[in-house]
């Protein structure tokens, strides 16, 4: 590989990451809008938000936080491994990340199912009987954790593709920016959860 070639590659490498960060900022703004909506209604319905929040399971919320933070660790380690030419180890860490992502979604599934079973879902008669504040809380809860869940799902699909590419050898220590960018996406979804967790589960 001549010098000019590798220089071009470096430019592409930085450019790809910058592009990814730009995209992540639009994601941040998407969630900022929803967090704003949440804080305005929380200041208007403090008691109701508190009452509604106490119905959510702190245990499941904490468990999911631990799962997602750990998945971020395995994600970072997979990028680290591929940089050091350890493709197999990277593949294992990518697989672990996907596993933790699925684990998170499974918990979310059971959590939502239990709530829906108890008659708490958008526009349900049981919820409407509780009044405006709780309806707002659960409306935002389903909206925000739902959109977040879709992002986790998208991250899982992205990582599955990366696993295939790693296995094929098209991701390696010379060309790993696609894995790194997938990692950036995964970590951002984690950052958003870091804020969602106290906002919905820990209102004291």
């Amino acid at each position: 590989m001549n010098k000019e070639h590798s220089l071009n590659k470096k430019t592409d490498y930085t450019g790809s990451k910058q592009g990814m960060w730009m995209f992540l900022f639009t994601e941040l703004l998407l969630f900022t809008g929803m967090f704003l909506l949440y804080s305005v209604f929380r200041s208007r319905y403090q008691q109701e938000f508190h009452a509604a929040s106490s119905e959510l399971s702190r245990t499941i919320g904490t468990l999911n936080t631990v799962i997602l933070l750990t998945s971020s660790l395995t994600m970072a380690l997979s990028v680290n491994a591929i940089r050091k030419d350890k493709n197999k180890i990277s593949l294992i860490f990518q697989g672990l990340t996907v596993f933790f992502g699925l684990f998170f979604l499974a918990n979310k599934f059971f959590e939502w199912s239990a709530k829906i079973h108890h008659g708490i879902y958008p526009n349900s008669p049981g919820l409407l009987a509780h009044g405006k504040g709780e309806t707002m809380f659960y409306g935002l809860y389903y909206l925000m954790t739902g959109i977040h869940g879709l992002h986790v799902l998208a991250g899982i699909v992205l990582l599955l593709i990366m696993m295939v590419l790693t296995k094929k050898g098209s991701l390696n220590s010379d060309s790993f920016v696609r894995l790194e960018n997938s990692g950036l996406y995964w970590h951002l979804v984690d950052v958003i959860w870091v804020y969602l967790f106290p906002v919905f589960y820990l209102i004291s």
Binding site: L29, V40, V66, L73, M75, R83, H187, L202, S204
Partner: protein, 98 residues
């Protein structure tokens, strides 16, 4: 030019960051259980921001990126701050500051 140059982060660093994240998670759950009221929500936002900071700096490698990346993030955060600030300003003074 080697694209691997800027990355000498070891497994130990990542593990240490993960440990900090776990401790902060435990701290935020415990703080919520103590019932600090108004200060409680402030504490949970501050702890969440510390966690987000750790993820951004280490897991997302922001600490090891060039200045441009940090400037980009700063611009995004400032944009969010303006949007959040102006919205609160609006909502806070609606209906004569009810």
């Amino acid at each position: 030019m080697n694209i691997n140059n800027n990355n000498n982060i070891g497994y130990k660093t990542y593990l240490a960051v993960w440990c900090c994240l776990m401790i902060l998670t435990a701290a935020t759950v415990m703080a919520a259980g103590m019932g600090f009221g108004r200060y409680g929500s402030l504490a949970s936002v501050l702890i969440a921001s510390a966690k987000a900071g750790l993820i951004l700096l280490f897991f997302m490698h922001l600490k090891y990126e060039t200045f441009v990346f940090k400037l980009m993030l700063l611009a995004a955060i400032l944009t969010m701050a303006v949007i959040i600030g102006l919205t609160f300003f609006d909502v806070g003074f609606r209906d004569g500051g009810r």
